[in-house]
């Protein structure tokens, strides 16, 4: 073992029924470095991490830790914690019914008793240190998601870990919180902690990481020092092909000119809801792609949810093709040709145990009515058509959707809404947690739909993506619309400035 490395994994293999999730993967983490683990969905990142944290058991290979010559065998997350490997996952893995302090200390204190005074004091200290706005005695469930995430990190940090794994920790944090997290990561790095950073945000990788290991299809592509691997190269390593798709996209959107003088397909006047957004005006025209942007928690999801009737609407007027309508629940919106792809795929999108087929026909079926089910053959036809059209990778249309990868699940949800043939499609973070290949496919699809005359509202936390796809952006801050940008104004700097609160 290298004296400098804190963790070495050699020849790791992991098989699932019918799948080789990991094949002969090597991974080395050095003391005091931030090491990005990159790869598309299904490349084996999460499997590797789960092997390392004892959630999965490897089928072959060895793991060495600093300070021991013999390989370690990690059988459970608890064991991993004990030998200094801590993980913070994308989904909150804390207990909402316990207090903040307990969540930081449960499962890792010695003895059989819980010393409330001590853990409250210790937790208070750490929270204060890291600037996390939470009270030790507070029930975790009453904190915001971002704060819960920070608490998870605080827990890991406090465990004096040698290896800290951050599995997509930034996907629910806003920019300020991300920079706070990065500062924390750099601090830890100075203390000699090795950090494995898994993320889909390329910018973030180049901001903090020292080294990158790329996986593809369960195999190691290589380990690189960050300075030696420009972005384009990284992407091509991840995809396994030369990468020029991104460049293609922009040109498409400019070809179509939108006629703003026409009656909008959808128009909302002073739409108000109960979810903390101020009444807002919004409209979209035929063939237009526009978007809501703003920091996390600025109300962009809440706005589109109000449009779709997903949350309670308390006031305002909605016009479709100039005619006033009432949208009180999702079915109303669907009947008026509005579709909504929700932000949280797992919670709001998929119906996990149902087959891909049932998931695809669900929305259209509901619109058709309770007493008029599709025949099996018809459903099969719809499903096959869209599986082919969107290139969904699934064993069959009978496979439960939950066994598909994230990107393919997202495509199924897209298929569901395309099948219902909407005039206005709302896509809330359709590219979140999805590999780059699928991201590009989805962006292209959005532009293609617009070219066919459909209207699309597109939301993404990646500003690049928004600029590439949208012709108009509504900027939100603290639940309020603070500006609208279009044409030449659509530059990264201008958007940032508007979000941050310059004059608009």
């Amino acid at each position: 073992m290298d004296n400098n490395s804190v963790l070495e994994m050699r020849g790791i293999c992991k098989y699932f029924p019918g799948v080789r999730a990991l094949q002969q993967v090597d991974f080395t983490l050095r003391e005091g470095e931030i090491h990005a683990l990159m790869g598309e969905n299904g490349a084996g990142k999460s499997t590797l991490i789960k092997v390392l944290t004892g959630v999965y058991h490897k089928d072959a290979g060895e793991v060495y830790l600093k300070g021991s010559d013999r390989p370690v065998n990690i059988r459970s997350p608890q064991e991993a914690q004990n030998i200094g490997i801590s993980t913070v996952y994308q989904e909150i893995t804390l207990c909402p019914n316990l207090t903040v302090a307990e969540n930081m200390y449960i499962g890792r204190t010695k003895g059989i008793f819980t010393d409330w005074k001590k853990i409250n004091a210790d937790a208070g200290k750490i929270l204060n240190d890291l600037g996390i706005p939470a009270i030790p005695g507070q029930q975790l469930g009453s904190c915001s998601i971002a704060v819960q995430q920070m608490i998870a990190i605080a827990r890991a940090v406090d465990m004096n870990c040698k290896v800290l794994i951050l599995d997509e920790p930034t996907s629910s944090l806003d920019e300020q919180e991300v920079s706070k997290l990065f500062k924390l990561m750099l601090d830890l790095k100075k203390k000699g902690v090795g950090i494995i950073f898994v993320t889909h945000f390329l910018e973030q990788v180049y901001e903090v990481c020292d080294r990158i290991t790329v996986l593809r299809d369960g195999m190691l592509v290589g380990e690189y020092i960050i300075e030696e691997l420009p972005r384009v190269k990284l992407v091509s390593k991840m995809l396994g092909k030369d990468f020029d798709d991104m460049a293609d996209i922009k040109s498409d959107s400019d070809t179509e000119k939108i006629d703003y003088s026409e009656t909008p397909v959808y128009e909302a006047k002073q739409l108000a809801g109960t979810t903390g957004i101020k009444p807002f005006d919004f409209s979209i025209h035929k063939g237009e792609v526009n978007g809501f942007t703003g920091l996390l928690g600025s109300g962009r999801s809440e706005c589109v949810r109000a449009i779709f009737g997903a949350d309670k609407v308390t006031g305002g007027e909605v016009l479709i093709d100039g005619k006033p309508v009432r949208i009180k629940k999702p079915l109303d919106a669907m009947k008026h040709g509005i579709s909504y792809l929700p932000e949280d795929r797992k919670r709001d999108g998929i119906v996990g145990d149902l087959s891909v087929r049932d998931n695809i026909i669900l929305a259209l079926q509901v619109m058709k009515g309770f007493f008029r089910p599709f025949s099996r053959a018809q459903a099969e036809e719809f499903a096959d058509q869209y599986i082919k059209l969107l290139n969904i990778k699934t064993a069959s249309s009978d496979t439960p959707i939950k066994s598909l990868s994230g990107g393919n699940q997202q495509k199924v949800i897209l298929a569901r809404w395309l099948l219902s043939n909407p005039v206005y499609l709302i896509l809330d973070e359709p590219t979140r947690g999805i590999d780059i290949g699928t991201k590009v496919e989805i962006q292209k699809l959005v532009l293609k739909l617009a070219a066919e005359g459909k209207s699309v509202t597109f939301i993404s936390s990646e500003i690049d993506e928004m600029i590439r796809t949208c012709s108009r952006l509504v900027v939100l801050r603290d639940g309020k619309v603070v500006g609208e940008l279009k044409g030449d104004e659509l530059t990264q700097n201008k958007i940032m400035a508007t979000i941050a609160g310059g004059e608009s």
Binding site: Q81, T93, C95, P96, L98, I106, N128, R155
Partner: protein, 349 residues
């Protein structure tokens, strides 16, 4: 690091942590019980002013308190155990047969009771935690099994004549400083049975367990979100197993306490006790979804349940159906209150 970065922020009153769900529900339960008892004293007078009335409620329900505590434990971990009532019946019958037909001693009878409880706890716990079979089904089978076994042990009811046991059953412990003057003007001190002491010890023990031990906190964590609990390094399987084991063991203790109170064995003993235990736990603020609950609440849940029974019967509505209907109505109201309170609390966020 500089020393002032370690300063704990001083909490102002407004800055205090909001109450946990468990606390909110506990306070509601205690308040309701007190109001109910107060109303009983004011409007029904006589009986309810005597301390003995209150202690009789304890005497009658010592076993139910113990069973409900066990139920709360498994409910906090997100499980359920519907076998406790029939296990109680089985314990009574086995002990009765042991004492009278086999000439056993009280001590061995106690061992049998605890053994039966532990056996149920072990098997059910193993099936639920290690083989991951739904708790409802496993304990339903446990209920059927205990019920059948009770009849197989002995099919008819009989009173225990063992002298040693009768002495134990008749033992009364005077409550210092409490009592009332009866019709003939003699001061009669209030008393409780041994079972009540056992029940209170169980409550204290479990309260401490849930509050201050890691195992107790693990119960909450597992009930709150068992995947998270696993990630946090808690052995979920073991924790669930322990909850069901404890519940079974408590059913054994509860069974013996019940036996000491009634002094007989019968297949129909403690019929429906599991539902009373579930009802008490719920009234006491335990949520069947897991992760929320409190043993003190459960104690008050049992008290509230039995107070309402007493009120109903002292109103002269003696028919059995009135008791059931009032309990059901009360359960209904509590469930609605819980659901509304929690919904409002969550909305505020």
């Amino acid at each position: 690091m500089s020393s002032n970065s370690f300063q704990i922020p001083k909490l102002k009153k407004a800055d205090r942590a909001p109450m946990t769900d468990t606390k909110v529900l506990l306070i509601i339960t205690i308040a309701v019980f007190l109001v109910m008892y107060f109303c009983a004293v004011v409007f029904l007078g006589k009986g309810f002013t005597k301390p003995q009335t209150f202690f009789n409620i304890l005497n009658e329900n010592a076993a139910l308190i113990i069973l409900s505590c066990g139920m709360s434990l498994v409910m906090i971990t997100g499980g359920i155990d519907i076998s406790v009532g029939q296990v109680t019946a089985l314990v009574c019958m086995s002990c009765a047969v042991h004492l009278d037909y086999h000439g056993g001693s009280v001590f061995t009878a106690l061992l049998i009771a605890l053994g039966i409880g532990l056996a149920f706890g072990l098997v059910q716990g193993y099936l639920i935690a290690y083989l991951k079979i739904q708790p409802f089904i496993v304990t339903l089978a446990g209920l059927f099994f205990a019920k059948g076994m009770t009849t197989i042990v002995n099919a008819t009811q009989f009173n225990v004549e063992n002298e040693e046991f009768k002495a134990l059953k008749a033992t009364r412990i005077t409550v210092p400083g409490m009592g009332s003057i009866n019709k003939t003007g003699v001061y009669v001190p209030a008393y409780v049975e041994i079972g009540v002491i056992v029940a209170l010890l169980v409550v204290i023990f479990l309260f401490a367990l849930l509050r201050w031990t890691k195992l107790g906190r693990s119960f909450y964590a597992v009930g709150g979100n068992n995947q998270s609990a696993n990630m946090l390094g808690i052995n979920v399987t073991h924790t669930k197993f322990m909850a069901h084991l404890l519940c079974g063991f408590l059913a054994g203790i509860g069974g013996f306490v019940y036996f000491m109170h009634v002094g007989s064995g019968s297949p129909s003993h403690a019929a429906g006790a599991e539902m009373n235990a579930i009802a008490s736990s719920i009234i006491g603020g335990t949520m069947l979804t897991g992760g929320v609950g409190n043993i003190i609440g459960t104690l008050f849940g049992v008290l509230a349940l039995s107070t309402i029974k007493n009120i109903v019967s002292s109103l002269g509505l003696d028919e059995a159906w009135w008791t059931n209907i009032t309990i059901a109505a009360m359960l209904c109201i509590f469930l609605l209150v819980q659901s509304v309170v929690l919904a409002r609390k969550n909305n505020k966020k």
